[in-house]
């Protein structure tokens, strides 16, 4: 197992280096010294308290969506609708926050439960279509993304909008529906604890429950799943519910921890969380802890790059370009994993892979 982990880490590192080279070229095109740029990114994200806080703020929703992706991908279900489920959760959370004021101790949990349910049901639509009507889940989840994106837009600018505000958004949530900041001087909020809790929950589900075992069997081989007495259709639907639920939570932490309102959804970074979550999950080898670490990495990249933008003359989308490259790299690594593994085995551990297959190479 150690060997496998090592080669996974090395392949991740190789992709990061490739992306860094590509990013350096980009910086050079923009007339910025790449080494200086990378230094500024790292300083911006980790050199200041504020930077660390900003990195974590980004890492929280990415972790939650990453967990959502991890659950689905481990079951062999390509839920790429994290973005749509994120907005579904944000809408569900806002609905509770704005229209059902009550004491904090009930309001906050209720808000998150609502977000989990709306996110889950939203993904469940794709799950139902996949299980009972054989609709490809990549297409359905991807297309469902747009509906909640524009629904958010509609609600924030239309029926739920607060005309008294300067930006187009709903009214601010009452205090009972806001996640507290961890410290007065930084923006990072209690959603961090929620993200860590969810990492723990998914870890337990995947490794210590019968449900998790069945989920992995489903992901390994559909025929084997049927053989293993798994009710495949039901399982597919529940996995989508669960997966969408975590993405929904990501939407809730954003509205209740960062903006305190539901607002126009088409902001560049936010609109990318769904896909960055896929990158983080794949970079984290579809494990909860790995996803967390990768999410922090992406958080650092985003926060550091926004700092970079403030000190040098750089177009805002440059960062998105780098993140996009990283995600493509991670997807590619995931697809070619067996080949990469074989190659690294050869390079790292001598000429031939030494597996049990070798001992019984007979017919």
């Amino acid at each position: 197992m150690g060997r496998k982990l090592l080669s996974e880490l090395i392949s991740t590192l190789i992709i990061i280096i490739i992306v860094m080279i590509a990013a350096s070229l980009l910086f050079m095109l923009a007339g910025i010294n790449p080494i200086e740029a990378i230094r500024l990114i790292i300083y911006g994200a980790l050199g200041r308290t504020r930077g660390i806080s900003e990195s974590l703020i980004r890492a929280i929703p990415i972790t939650l969506i990453g967990l959502s992706v991890t659950i689905a991908f481990r079951a062999g279900l390509w839920n790429v609708g994290g973005q749509g489920q994120f907005y579904a959760g944000a809408i569900g959370a806002s609905f509770i926050a704005l229209f059902f004021p009550m004491t904090r101790i009930i309001h906050l949990p209720l808000l998150f439960i609502a977000a989990f349910i709306t996110g889950g049901i939203y993904a469940g639509i794709a799950g139902f279509l996949r299980a009972y009507m054989r609709v490809n889940e990549i297409l359905s989840t991807l297309m469902l993304n747009f509906i909640t994106l524009w629904l958010t837009q509609y609600l924030a600018t239309g029926p739920w909008s607060d005309p008294g505000r300067i930006i187009v958004a709903t009214a601010f949530f009452p205090d009972s529906a806001r996640l507290n900041r961890l410290h007065d001087t930084v923006r990072v909020h209690q959603g961090l604890y929620l993200a860590l809790l969810c990492v723990g929950i998914v870890f337990v589900i995947l490794n210590y429950t019968v449900y998790g075992q069945k989920l992995k069997v489903l992901g390994a081989n559909l025929t084997a799943a049927k053989y293993a007495k798994i009710n495949i259709k039901k399982k597919i639907v529940t996995i989508f519910l669960l997966s969408g639920g975590f993405a929904g939570l990501a939407g809730a932490v954003e509205v209740s921890g960062v903006y305190y309102c539901l607002r126009n959804g088409a902001f560049p970074i936010e609109a990318g969380y769904g896909f960055i979550g896929i990158g983080a999950a794949l970079m984290g080898m579809l494990t909860p802890v790995g996803t967390l670490i990768s999410a922090v990495f992406f958080g650092i990249l985003i926060a550091g790059s926004s700092y970079l933008k403030t000190v040098v003359d750089l177009h805002g989308h440059t960062v998105n370009f780098i993140i996009g490259l990283l995600i493509i790299g991670m997807v590619a690594r995931h697809l070619f994993r067996p080949k990469i593994q074989k190659f690294l085995d050869k390079v790292l551990f001598g000429k031939k892979e030494l597996t049990e297959r070798g001992t019984s190479s007979g017919s």
Partner: protein, 507 residues
């Protein structure tokens, strides 16, 4: 024959995988024109590695190869093919959607179809083979596909023919026919290598027999006059017992565990795959169903175990398990009724395990409730896994290792260990022995007989391996074109020719 020229001579072949897995340890092997030379050995003895080296698929670490007396070095199969070697692999290298002739054409350098056609006709005539050249390969039964594969080599003019376990896809009559042909081709001047672990076939066809064990050549004997027991001893390296069923059991009063009544099943095209099938399996009974692949046995075990694809549906009849009607139930629905059945599926090494998961996770498969309802009791499973790995002699690097790194034989052992140890009332088994070595097969038979005797397990054994069925079954049925006919032997014991006749549709 001993005067014939040497076609192949392999000297001191050594091949080490990784650091210390010695697949071939200084093997000498030679084949003359005009003989059938059998390469006998258990799975993992090194037969395949040796032949892969000869065919250029694997490079030897040490050793020399001579073809027709000339030293050669094959770096790829195409080198070997140019060197006059033809190999019939276990998995055919044919294009199913093309016709026989088109497949032949693919293997040749000749571009003109007319020339290919006349060459094909000549070869068929010379080798006395009758096959419809315009049929698509996918419409041919397995044994004819194999023939196409062989014709490809003959049309290329290969003088050296290697057959890698060619009989594993054949039954009864077909095996005899292939063996007869091999002998004829040897007489026509070909050098034939026949790889197998089946004693009877090797004894029948081999002019000489080389036995490999643990990567070493332990003997090369003349085919005439060698005793079967002697050969087994050479191959396995120790005394071992062949298990067979004991005395006749009186099962007439035993409870019926599985009862199938007038079962009819149709496929997507609305054609019957099973028609009016009725049989029952009693407590402690081993009921065998013999049949050539493709006569509906897949559908039969799938509908009983609830693992059939949606395209296959039951149109009539009833299946009862332990008195409960389970007709049309999925495997998960059967489980929800709190009844359990052991099942070793067809193509077990692919679908009986989830290959990307670990050994311990695969031992959990199907036995879910044994190890907890919500949380998995890993400690209990670990203990059980240790017991099973030892008892079933499964060689695994660790319980955490991915099943994909295991050989087919060991995967099957995992499935056997799991299903046999669950002690269910009914055990459904489909062709369990493909890919198992001799010792494991005997071990498997012993376990089956014990289960039936000591635990009163009802066992439904579907197979085309008549030797296996004869050894363990209390009663037999034959499946042919979707119908299951009970076999009533003429004098109480099973008769190979009678059964083969029924399997191929004769009366």
């Amino acid at each position: 024959m001993s005067t014939s020229a040497l076609a192949i001579e392999m000297r001191q072949i050594r091949k080490v995988y990784g650091r210390d897995v010695v697949a071939n340890d200084g093997i000498d092997f030679d084949v003359r024109f005009g003989e059938v030379h059998c390469l006998l050995g258990e799975n993992g003895a090194g037969k395949s590695t040796l032949m892969k080296i000869l065919f250029g698929l694997v490079q030897a670490d040490e050793g020399e190869i001579f073809i027709n007396g000339n030293p050669v070095k094959f770096l790829s199969p195409s080198d070997a093919i140019n060197g006059g070697i033809g190999m019939v692999h276990q998995q055919f290298k044919l294009v199913p959607s093309l016709t026989v002739l088109e497949n032949i054409a693919l293997g040749l350098n000749e571009k003109k179809l007319g020339k290919i056609e006349s060459e094909f006709g000549r070869v068929c005539l010379e080798y006395d083979v009758d096959i419809d050249k315009n049929k698509k390969v996918k419409d041919l039964p397995a044994h004819e596909q194999q023939l196409v594969e062989i014709l490809k080599l003959l049309c290329l003019g290969q003088k050296i023919l290697i057959f890698d376990e060619p009989t594993s896809i054949l039954v009864g009559e077909q095996i005899q026919q292939l063996l007869k042909r091999l002998k004829e081709w040897a007489k026509m001047g070909h050098a034939v290598v026949f790889i197998s672990h089946k004693m009877n076939e090797v004894l029948e066809v081999g002019d000489r027999i080389s036995v490999l064990r643990n990567g070493k050549k332990v003997a090369c004997v003349e085919g005439d006059g060698i005793e079967r027991d002697k050969l087994i001893e050479l191959m396995v390296g120790e005394d071992f017992k062949e298990y067979k069923r004991g005395e006749e059991k009186d099962l007439s009063s035993a409870e019926k565990i599985l009862q199938v009544d007038n079962l009819s099943v149709k496929n997507q095209e609305n054609k019957f795959v099973l028609e009016d099938v009725s049989f029952s399996v009693r407590e402690g009974e081993i009921f065998g169903i013999a049949g050539i692949q493709g006569n509906g046995q897949d559908a039969l075990v799938e509908v009983i175990t609830g693992t059939n694809p949606e395209s296959i549906r039951i149109t009539d009849g009833k299946i009862e398990l332990e008195g409960i009607n389970i007709t049309g139930f999925t495997s998960s629905k059967i489980e929800s009724k709190k009844i359990d059945l052991g099942y070793i599926p067809p193509k077990a090494k692919d679908i009986g395990v989830a290959t990307t998961l670990s050994v311990k996770e695969n031992l959990l498969l199907r036995g879910w409730s044994q190890y907890g309802n919500v949380f998995v009791n890993w400690r209990k499973l670990y203990k059980r896994a240790d017991e099973l790995i030892e008892k079933y002699n499964i060689s695994v690097p660790s319980k955490e290792a991915n099943v994909s790194t295991l050989s087919g034989g060991n995967r099957i052992k995992i499935i056997l260990a799991r299903e046999l140890s669950r002690q269910t009332k009914l055990l459904v088994i489909f062709d369990p022995c493909t890919g198992l070595d001799v010792k494991s097969i005997e071990f498997f038979k012993k376990n089956l007989l014990e289960l039936a005797k000591n635990n009163n397990t009802a066992i439904l054994l579907v197979s085309n391996d008549l030797d296996l069925l004869f050894d363990v079954c209390d009663s037999l049925g034959v499946i042919f074109r979707g119908k299951v006919l009970p076999y009533q032997s003429s004098d109480g014991s099973f008769k190979m020719d009678e059964i083969t006749n029924m399997m191929t549709g004769g009366e």
